[in-house]
């Protein structure tokens, strides 16, 4: 019997038929050589230590994936085996992929976290400090449920005057991420002091909207400081990383954002006391200085300096008086002495002792030679005068002197 001869197309169709008859199969392997084409289709190889299998994942399937395919990721792929006749090779058309060892959302979360971190969305340099006294706060959350009630209760207990505006959004399910992102943009433009974005606890799926890139980007773009408060303490979301502050729960967010009025009042009371005490201290200090001045000698006996000066004056005056008096006395004594001498020398006293003065022509006649016979002389004695005429003039011995 002659062998049956197939055309290439026939044999490939035959092989394809055999492969496709296997139906849906699950294959576990590591993703290698992953390429995503502009068409949206993904091409990769699943491999283990000893073998590899080409795989293709159409765009429609890729859109349903909850994580991204990436090099080295260990996955379980579900699909059908088929032949790509043009190239003559066979491949697996994948219609579902699950990561091995962790949930797809965990993988997606890690992938997103890594990507956005590399892009700098979590950089502390982009974080804005919260205002210390915000009085207008937007709560971007579900209008129902415990989270919004907790936020409102805690915020108003701390500071009743704080203005709270709920921006109602869907926090889980289809479209939630888009609503949250849009609400962040709206609230950011309305002049709030702080935005709180969050929800109460739930499963990873329930919290998923807060891991979506649109939410992360809206938070990053907002000018207003944003606090992320999603789920419980153990739950971390991408929005927590991008936000300016992560609060472990919604009520913790209210505590972190709204100042405690009692604490502020305490602070004010303390300043009030210190203000009064400082002024009192100032006044007391001045009063003490005033008392010190009053107690000083100058104030106690203000005339003292005057009296001291008067005393000095008295001393000086005394000395002056004495000095002057001495001189006066001395002068008087001098005068008395001179007067005595004058008296002793008085011609009258001489005359009284028997001497006389003879004058010729009104002048004392001192030498005999000055007189000539016939001259008229006047002789003064103690008790009167005698007029006489010169009869003879003798000399020296002749006169017997």
């Amino acid at each position: 019997m002659p062998p049956r001869i197939y055309t290439v197309s026939q044999i490939q169709a035959h092989v394809r038929h055999i492969l496709e008859e296997q139906g849906s199969v699950w294959v576990e392997g590591e993703i290698s050589g992953h390429r995503r084409y502009p068409s949206g289709h993904h091409y990769f190889t699943l491999k283990d230590e000893g073998a590899q299998l080409s795989a293709v994942l159409w765009r429609s399937t890729a859109q349903r994936l909850r994580f991204e395919l990436e090099e080295g990721l260990l996955v379980r792929a579900r699909g059908t085996l088929t032949v790509y006749e043009v190239r003559g090779n066979y491949q697996m058309v994948v219609d579902g992929v699950e990561p091995v060892g962790q949930g797809p959302l965990q993988v997606r979360f890690e992938q997103m976290r890594r990507r956005l971190e590399e892009e700098g969305l979590f950089d502390p340099a982009h974080k804005v400090p919260l205002p210390p006294y915000p009085l207008r706060i937007a709560l971007i959350t579900s209008p129902a449920g415990a989270a919004v009630r907790d936020l409102i209760t805690v915020a108003r207990r701390r500071w009743p005057a704080v203005e709270l505006v709920v921006v109602p959004v869907k926090v889980q399910g289809e479209g939630a991420a888009g609503e949250i992102a849009e609400a962040i943009r709206l609230a950011d433009a309305r002049g709030f002091d702080v935005l709180i974005v969050g929800r109460g606890g739930g499963s990873l799926e329930d919290l998923w909207a807060f891991n979506e890139e649109v939410v992360a980007r809206a938070i990053f773009a907002a000018e207003t400081p944003i606090v992320s408060a999603v789920g419980h303490e153990v739950d971390f979301t991408i929005s927590d990383f991008v936000a300016d502050l992560r609060a472990p729960t919604p009520s913790a967010a209210a505590e972190a954002v709204v100042p405690d009025r009692a604490a502020v009042r305490g602070w004010l009371d303390e300043r009030k006391v210190r203000l009064s005490r400082a002024l009192r201290a100032k006044v007391d200090d001045l009063a003490a200085r005033l008392r010190e001045i009053e107690a000083s000698r100058a104030f106690r006996d203000p005339l003292d300096p005057v009296r001291r000066r008067e005393q000095i004056l008295d001393v000086v005056a005394g000395r002056l008086t004495r000095a002057f008096g001495d001189r006066l006395t001395r002068r008087r004594a001098d005068l008395d002495r001179h007067a005595g001498r004058l008296d002793a020398l008085s011609p009258l006293r001489v005359l009284a002792r028997g001497y006389s003065v003879t004058q010729l022509l009104g002048r004392p006649l001192l030498r005999a030679a000055d007189a000539r016979p016939g001259d008229r002389l006047t002789t003064t004695l103690a008790d009167g005068e005698i007029s006489s005429t010169v009869t003879m003039v003798g000399h020296g011995e002749e006169a017997g002197l």
Binding site: P132, Y133, V166, R190, R274, L275
Partner: protein, 77 residues
Amino acid sequence: MAKKQGFEAHLEALEKIVGELEAGDLPLDDSLARYKQGVTHLKSCYDLLRDAESAVKKLVRGADGELTEEPFESEGT
């Protein structure tokens, strides 16, 4: 925002005045003037603390697309 800045500004001014008065270097006239300013700031702060409880509102988009703030009642669980 202006309200918040006002409150913060009052607190900061108050703290500064307390510090200056406590340093004790100011003449009596200035001390008295600073004290009066301090009391004014204190009063403004206490007034803001005493503000009445404000109502919770919610942001809603009207039929015309305009955003308005309406009273908020918790929708329960």
